[in-house]
């Protein structure tokens, strides 16, 4: 299962790492967190973002069609 790792450093900066994600799902999770944190008075400005190779993998849905014989 994918994990979102959040490290809140002593100087207050926040590092977020997506572990085990494929495609852009980790970015969606990050965006959800950022929006929800605003309700608690925390505005997170992204200063740097680095995508891992797995982020560029496109996830596609494969539809299996029943084959009539």
């Amino acid at each position: 299962m994918p994990i979102t790792r959040i490290v809140v450093k002593n100087d207050g900066t926040v590092q977020v790492e997506g572990i085990g994600y494929v495609g852009g799902q980790c970015l969606k999770v990050l965006q959800q967190l950022i929006e929800t944190l605003r309700k608690y008075g925390i505005n997170i400005n992204i200063e740097q973002q680095q995508l891992k190779p797995e982020a560029y993998i496109e996830t596609t849905q494969v539809q299996h069609e029943a084959v009539e014989q």
Partner: protein, 131 residues
């Protein structure tokens, strides 16, 4: 001699309960185990009414106070001369603990589960698992 200091946090319109929890964590580290409400923090020649405070005997003050100003910004106030934490150190700690608590609360609100919550020398580490 006074070091009456007001320090601003990067938190605006905070959740008061989370703020209180964050303060309680700091209070325990300071060996006080108490957070009070509506407390007047006093320093050398200065005083400030605070919504929340950690009361403790300091060489030139009576505790660390937290108040929210008219713009919703969180500020800490203390006469930190000879105090165990400077105002800046206290503010940084409060910022860190409040942020960590807010991340946990936000995550739970989104339906994530907290797999790990750990404090190290340099940071607070939180692992979240999406549903």
């Amino acid at each position: 001699m006074s070091h009456w200091t007001v320090a601003r946090l990067k938190i605006r319109n905070p959740d008061i309960q989370l703020l209180k929890q964050a303060l309680m964590a700091i209070a325990k580290e300071l060996g006080v185990n108490e957070v009070v409400e509506n407390f007047e923090v006093i320093g050398w020649g200065a005083r400030q009414r605070c919504q929340l405070a950690i009361p403790m005997n300091l060489p030139y003050g009576n505790g660390y106070g937290v108040y929210i100003d008219e713009n919703g910004e969180v500020k800490v106030v203390v006469d930190d001369h000879g105090a165990p934490l400077t105002a800046e150190e206290f503010a940084a700690k409060l910022q860190q603990y409040y942020t960590a608590l807010a991340v946990v609360a936000a995550a739970q609100q989104l339906g994530f589960s907290v797999q790990q919550l750990q404090q190290t020398k340099d940071a607070v580490l939180i692992d979240l698992m999406t549903p």
